[in-house]
Each structure stands twice: as C-alpha cells, then as structure tokens.
C-alpha cells in the first residue's frame, strides 16, 4: 500500500465502528424489521474485511485474537444446540418460543429464543466469510 494508506486507515477507524453498530442493530432488529442473523453477520463480517484491508492481517490478528474457523464452528454448534434444546422440554426439534419481560432499562421487552438461533447463524456467517477472505488474501 502507498499514499492512500493514511487516509484509508483514518477513515476506517471511524467507519468500522459505524459498520459494527449497524450490523449489531440489524441483528437485533431482525425480528420485527429488515435484518436478522444472516445480514447482521454479513455486515459485521464486512467490517472485519475492511479492517484487514486497511491494516495488514498480522496487526489485526494481534489486536483481535479471534480464530474465525473456530468462530464459524461455534456458530453452527450454537444453531444446532438451540434446535436440540426444545427436545428437553418435550417440544419438537427447532421449535422456538418467545415472551415479554419487564427489564430495568428497556422496559417491556420481547425476548425470543430465535435470537439464539440467529446468533448461531450470524457467527457462522462472520466466521466463514472472514475465513475465506483471509485465506485467499494470505495465499501468496
């Protein structure tokens, strides 16, 4: 990289944060508005990709010691487990439930088990996408 490097690095510091926030917002809004685990995961993954593009992968790996292969495995496991869990309550595989709770700050909030499932999907997507891009870019 050359002259543009400084601008890219400076900009991405701010932008990455925005993308992360946007991704997390998308993830949580998915239940009632456009968004969800897949898109949220993709957006967060694109933030990671931007980080890896503007800084070299070693610097990022030092700052963020995440093994994305394990992250994707964890995601798949989480999605599967959230499917198995209802079996212990006498329900069918992958059946989800939801309820409304009064939480201290948020007030009346809806909590749904599908969020756990979606989190699994999101983690899988993040892990796989970043992992693929990392392995291609490191292939020299």
């Amino acid at each position: 990289m050359n002259i543009n490097d400084v601008i890219l690095k400076t900009v991405s510091k701010a932008v990455v944060l925005i993308i992360f926030t946007f991704g997390i917002y998308l993830f949580f809004s998915g239940h009632n508005q456009p968004g969800g685990g897949f898109i949220g995961g993709l957006v967060i993954a694109s933030a990671f990709v931007l980080m890896f593009l503007s800084y070299d992968s070693e610097t990022v790996s030092d700052a963020l010691p995440i093994d994305f292969k394990k992250l994707s495995a964890l995601g798949v496991l989480l999605a599967m487990m959230s499917g198995v869990a209802p079996l212990f309550f006498g329900k069918a595989f992958l059946s989800q439930s939801f309820g409304y709770f009064d939480l201290p700050i948020f007030g009346k909030t809806e909590l749904a088990t599908v969020t756990i499932f979606e989190a699994g999907i999101a983690l899988t997507v993040i892990g796989v996408v970043v992992n693929i891009i990392l392995s291609i870019s490191e292939d020299e």
Partner: protein, 800 residues
C-alpha cells in the same frame, strides 16, 4: 419415566465418555467400569419380566419429527424383551471376558466405545417401534461392527473383512429402507404396531410384495443367509469377544428379529412362507456342509453360526403358516415352529457364545486356532475341554443339553410341515425334513471335529507357539456361566418357556395364545427321536471315515465361490469407476460448465417438453414501469459487455453492476431484506474478486476451433432460453395456492413482525440451520483447498 429410551441411550453416553475417563481409571482396567453398563441394563430388563409375562407392554415416545410421523418410540413386548436380555446378558459376559482377553497394547477406549456403541444400537433396533428409527439403529450396528472387525486395522485381512461386512449389510439395509418407505406409502404410518393393525386391508396392494422382498433382503444380509453369508467368515478377523457377541449372539440375530417382527405383517402369504423357509433351509445345509472342511476353529464356528441362523430362519418361515390358520389346533401346530425358533435363538446364543470363548482361550493360551496344529489339549486344558464338550454337544443336539430340546422341536416342525394343506406343500414338502436331517448330520460331524480334533489325539507341542496351560480364572467365568445355563435350560426349560418365550410368541402372533407348549425332555419314541438316533449313528460313521470322503470338497472348482464373485464385482466396479472418471474429469473448466449446463437443459427443458408445461400468459402481468425497463436495459448491457471485455478489472466491475442492479430491483419490489442482503453480499464478493484479481494469470484469449465455439454458444443460448422460459412459465401457471396467507399469523405464533425472518428462524428453521451448516462446510473446503497448496512444506518432509 422414559426408562426404555434411557436404556437405549445410556450406552451411547458412556461411549462418549470413554476418552475422558480412561486415563483417570488408570490402575483399574477400563472394562470394569464398562461392565457396569450391561449389568445395570440387564437388571433393568429382568425387572420387567413379571410385567411382560403377564401380557403387559411398555411404550414410551419422544417426538422427533412428528410432522412426518418420525418419533423415537420405544416399545417393549415379549419379543423385544428376549432380545434385550440377550444383548445385555451376553454383553455383560463378553465385557467380563474381554477384560482378560485383550492385550495391554490394544486401545481400550476405542474397543469399549465401539462395543457400547454397538450395544446401544442393538437395543435401539429391538426396542424401536418406528421404522425410520429402527433403520438408523440398524445401520449403526453395521457401522459399529465394521469398526470392531477392523479393530486390528494394521492387518490386511481385518480391513478386507470389515469392508466386506459393511458393503453387504449396508447394501441390504438400503434395500430395507426402501421397503420401509414402501410400507409407509401403503399404510401412511411409520409405526410398526399401527402397520400390523391395518395391514390386513392392504395385502393386495401393488407395493406389498416389493416391500416384503426388500425388507427380507435387509434381514437376509444381516443374518448372513445364503448367498449373503460370505461376510460372516471374514468377520472372524475381529477380536474373539467381538465374534462371540456380535457375530454369533446378537447382531446377526437382528435379521431374525426383523423377520419375526414382520411376520404378522407379511406372514400368511405363500411368498413369505416359501422365501423364508427355503432360504433358511439352504443356509442351514450349506453352512453345515462348509463347516466340516474348515481348518480354522473360528471359521468352523462362523460357518456353524450361518447354519444355525438358517435353522432359526426356516423355523420362522414354517411358523408363519400359523397366521393363516389363526387360533385353532392347526394354528397352534405351526405356532410351535415360531416357539421353537425363539427357543433355539436363546439356546444358540448360550452354546455358541461359550464355544467362541473356548476358541478364544485356545487362541490365547496356545497361540493358534488351526486344527491341523492342535490336538491332545485335554490334559493341559481340562476345564476348557469340559466347556467345549458342553457347548458342542448342545450344538449337535445331544441330550442333557438345551440344544437337544430346540432341535427336537425343529424336527417336529419340519415333520408337521409335510402335512401342511397350504401353499402347494404336499408335492415338495417331504424335502423339508429331509434337508433338515442331512444338515443336522453334518452339524453332528463338525461338532465332533471341534471336540475330538482339538482335545484328543497326540499333543503336537512342536507346532504350537506356547506351552498350553489353563487360563486365569477370570477368563473362565463367562463360559462357565453359559455352560451352567446350557445344562440348566435342559432340566428346567419351562422356566424360560413360561416367562420369556410365551410372551415373545404372543408378541409375534397374539391370536394363538394356547400355542406355547410345555417343553419336555423325553417325548417318547416318535419321528423326532428316531431322527436324532439316525443322526448320531450316521454322523459317527461319517466322522470316523472323514478322511475317505473329505475329497468331495475338492470337487468345487477354486474360482466358483461367492467370495470370488464378490471380489470380481468389486474389482470391476473400481475399474469402471476409474475409467469413467478419467474420461470426464478432464481438468478443463469449460468442459465442466458444459456438463452442468447440458444436464440442466436436458432435465429442466426436457421436463417442459415432456409434461407439456410450456404456457406463457402475459394477461395477468402488472405493467412494466420506466425504472424497471431502465434497470433491465442496464443489466443487459452489463451482462453482454462482460463477454467482450479485455481485462479482469472491468469484468469484475461489470459483474458488480449486475449485482447492484438486482439489489435495486429488490428495492423496487419492496423486499428490503433481500435488497440489504444482496447489497452486502455484492460488496463482499466484489472485494473478494479484487483480492483474487491480484493472483490471477494474465487474461489470454482462448484459442479454440470454430466447432467448439459454436458448440459452446449453442449450450449457452440453450441454458439462457431454458431459464427465461422457466421464468415466464412459472409466472403464468399458478399450480399451487399462494402460501402468503399461511404466514399471516406470524406475529401471534412467533412474536415477530418480519415475516421473512419468521420464516427463516421459526417456520422453516430446519432449512436455515442446514444452510448454515453447508456454508460452514464450504468455508472449510475453501480453507483446506487453499492451505493444501500452501502446505507443501510438510508434504516434502514426508517424502524425505
């Protein structure tokens, strides 16, 4: 609460624990811990005997995929109980025996994990009421058997035997699955009890006989019936405790169990009667005949197992006639055959288990199982000798051992079959007792070979590796218990008959309640006892003159065996596969694309032509807005330009234009979720492309002949036309009702306003879950492929 289901799952849990606990138990042998599992389960099933013999049944269900009728339903009746007792009882003895048999260099956690896996799978087979669940456990027994046969995987023969047994039993299992699906197609249920209840109405259904033969295929391959018996002798490469457990006492009986379990569904028809009886009789004869020529003790026992399985199978076939007669004197007469089958099932497990353990002791203490190198072991191994006599005399059907009783009942059933006024029996019926008798003569001969050639005669100490001595006490406990059972069952057979065999008989044929007889050791001079006397007389003569007539075995040409056929088939399969693969895997990417697109055109376009589905109707279409027309034009221009670009960069960017235009389309059609996804995906892929771009070789124009260019153009245009036609036709032919109303109550059901995500996460979460799994596997694939190229370092090390 869920006692039965727990009983099936406990072995799996303990098997999963194996790697964790085997280090912690260091001073103790892992086997002592494992032994607890079958012991506890055995106690559990014993505690069920009073209830079951009163005619009760136990049923427990866990819903698995209730929407298509697949539930984990455990069902315990007399038949299931008798099998479960065999599995856990023999399991305990075999685990105990294995503690002394295995050498310290063997990997205990692997061995016991496989054994427990098998135990759980087997319990699952005999206790499942659901066909699909039964099938899953059925194949698990094949897999665990594969792992156990290949336990000493450094031996070539072990690997060969394991592969052979897996290929043959899984082949049969797949046939069985097809049969199960047909049964479901006929009756609309996967529950065996429900199928039994409704099957009467469907006996003339077109799929009745295909389903029957496919299910029998599964049973015959599993129970090593002729001509699928060839895997069993090779399975003897497994450690001896495994042979005793899987390949004589339990797994091979899964096929018999299946036939017994399905008798109420298919029994009472001529096809079932003849197929099961004839296959059983042929197997009985061929196994006994081949056993005589074996020189390896374990191979001899393997063929004798085949023969005995055939005996039980033919009894099940003969007994199926009882269903035709129902509750009456005739029904009871043939019900006796099924009773005899169950009785012999138990007896065979006791004496064959004991005999395998005896062979294990000989192998362990002497170092060889070759009859030609053995002899005169009686003095050195007196206790083992006693076990061998008890086991083989029971197998030969001699008095004072339990084998005698069930053998007499077998003869009685074959004699009864001669007078059967059904299925065209009178013409050929006389052959049934005749074959049974001849096979039993051979059985007598090989039993005598087993005892006399091994334990009598002059000791050949020079030919054996070790000086034979009696093994440690622990190794003798298991066969001793079995020998006590062999003799005990002779003197008190009705204890077993009343409490286990009768309820099991009722589990198979509930109608003939009075069929279960009182077993008596001495039943007067009748045809059966005369047949036994004849066997002893002729058998002794044959054994003494063995050297004179053994040459008849050389009459069979060397290459004319089923094993040779199996080997030739595998070899041919490999060659054909190699030939086809080298011819279509050219390593040339355009070739692969042509296959894919050609296939697509033929299948999708062919369906259009074949079903006459091509109907394009523009009348109901909404008007095309200006934006849509513009977008389409942009996309068309971008797509066509890609064909003519000269550089990578512009191709990538044009591709991006296409993707973003699609995203705008989604916006126009008010699908924000899709638009969002498409935008992000497009961004990420463009970045990905740009990354790859750096490493791509220079863009060179491919020089290909005009013919190939024309061919490619035809394929490309064909694919494009097909896709366009599909798009236009789908829109004009509303074949199904719209499903959007189905999701209208998504908020009440899932608490989510966003229908798209409710579908993804709630209604069709199974799809989403599997898709994420596919994505994960694809990611691993990409990673591995790229790393493989990078990882030349370690590969070089290997070569050095």
């Amino acid at each position: 609460m869920y006692l039965l289901i727990l009983a099936i799952l406990i072995p799996f849990f303990v098997a999963a624990l194996m790697p964790l606990i085997h280090k912690r138990l260091e001073p103790f042998h892992l086997g002592w811990f494992v032994l607890l599992v079958p012991l506890v389960l055995f106690a559990l099933f014993v505690s069920q005997i009073p209830a079951i013999s009163n005619g009760d049944t136990l049923i427990q269900t866990i819903h698995w995929i209730p929407s298509i009728g697949i539930n984990f339903t455990a069902y315990l009746d007399g038949l299931g109980l008798i099998m479960a007792l065999l599995i856990t009882g023999m399991g305990s003895l075999v685990v105990l025996y294995s503690i002394y048999y295995l050498s310290p260099s063997d990997s205990f956690p692997h061995f016991y994990a496989y054994l427990l896996l098998f135990m759980g799978a087997m319990l699952g087979v005999v206790l499942s009421d659901n066909l699909i669940v039964l099938y899953v456990f059925w194949e698990l027994t094949s897999i665990s058997s594969f792992l156990l046969i290949a336990f000493w995987y450094h031996r070539k023969n072990s690997r060969y035997g394991a592969q052979k047994s897996l290929l043959i039993t899984v082949f049969g299992g797949l046939g069985m699955l097809a049969g199960f699906l047909m049964l479901h197609g006929i009756t609309g249920t996967f529950s065996i009890r429900e199928i039994i209840a409704v099957m009467v109405q469907y006996t003339d259904h077109g799929l009745f006989y295909p389903a029957m033969f496919l299910i029998l295929l599964g049973a015959f391959t599993k129970s090593a019936q002729f001509p699928f018996h060839i895997w069993l002798p090779d399975a003897m490469e497994a450690p001896t405790p495994v042979s005793a457990y899987l390949h004589s006492a339990t797994m091979v009986k899964a096929g018999l169990y299946l036939v017994a379990r399905f008798t109420p569904i298919f029994g009472g028809t001529a096809s079932w009667f003849w197929t099961v009886t004839i296959v059983g009789l042929i197997t009985l004869f061929w196994g006994a005949f081949c056993a005589v020529r074996q020189t390896d003790l374990k191979a001899l026992l393997a063929y004798s197992t085949i023969s005995q399985l055939g005996l039980i199978m033919s009894l099940l076939g003969l007994g199926s006639a009882a269903l035709h007669f129902g509750d009456g004197e005739q029904g009871a007469l043939y019900g006796l055959a099924i009773f005899a089958a169950l009785f012999h099932l138990v007896n065979h497990s006791t004496f064959k288990g004991a005999l395998f353990m005896v062979v294990g002791i000989i192998d362990h203490q002497v170092g060889t199982r070759d009859i030609r190198r053995l002899g005169g072991l009686m003095a050195a191994l007196p206790i083992t000798f006693t076990f061998a006599v008890i086991g083989s005399f029971s197998m030969a059907g001699l008095p004072f051992f339990n084998g005698f009783l069930s053998k007499e009942m077998f003869f009685a059933s074959t004699v009864n079959a001669v007078g059967l006024p059904l299925f065209g029996v009178p013409t050929w019926g006389l052959l049934i007792p005749l074959i049974a008798w001849i096979a039993s003569v051979f059985t007598f001969v090989y039993c005598m070979i087993f005892v006399f050639r091994t334990f009598f005669g002059t000791p050949q100490l020079k030919k054996v590796d070790r000086k034979p001595v009696e093994p440690t006490l622990g190794m003798l406990i298991s066969p001793a218990i079995l020998c006590v059972l062999i003799i005990g069952l002779f003197f008190a057979p009705n204890l077993l008959g009343d409490h286990l065999l009768k309820p099991a008989l009722q589990g198979i044929i509930p109608d003939i309640s009075g069929a279960a007889p009182q077993i008596s050791a001495w039943h007067g001079v009748n045809i059966e006892s005369l047949m036994t006397f004849g066997i002893i007389a002729v058998g002794t003569l044959l054994f003494l003159s063995l050297r004179r007539w053994i040459i008849i075995y050389r009459l069979q040409p060397a290459g004319w065996t089923f094993t040779a056929f199996y080997n030739a088939f595998l070899k041919g399969l490999k060659q054909t596969a190699n030939w086809t693969t080298t011819h279509y895997m050219t390593g040339h990417l355009p070739a692969y694309f042509s296959y894919i697109f050609l296939f697509f055109i033929v299948v999708a376009g062919g369906t259009f032509v074949y079903t006459d589905a091509l109907a394009i109707d523009f009348t109901n279409d909404s008007p095309i807005s200006l934006y849509e027309a513009l977008l389409t034009a942009v996309m068309a221009i971008a797509a066509i330009s890609i064909l003519f670009t000269k550089s990578h960069l512009s191709a990538i960017l044009l591709n991006g234009v296409l993707g973003f235009s699609i995203a705008i389309f989604f916006v126009l059609f008010r699908a924000p979720d899709l638009a969002l996804t498409q935008l992000v995906i497009e961004t990420v892929t463009t970045v990905l492309f740009l990354l790859c771009f750096h490493f791509l070789p220079e863009w060179t124009t491919e020089r290909s002949s005009k013919r190939i260019k024309v061919r490619n153009a035809v394929i490309a245009i064909g694919a494009g036309v097909t896709v366009t036609l599909i798009g236009l036709t789908v829109n004009s032919g509303p074949l199904f009702d719209s499903i959007s109303s189905y999701f209208e109550n998504s908020y009440e059901l899932t608490g989510g306003d966003n229908i798209v995500n409710s579908i993804l996460g709630d209604f069709r979460a199974f799809d989403t879950m599997l898709e994420s799994l596919v994505l994960f596997i694809a990611g691993l694939g990409v990673y591995t492929l790229i790393r493989l190229k990078l990882g030349k370092g370690p590969e070089k090390d290997e070569h050095q």
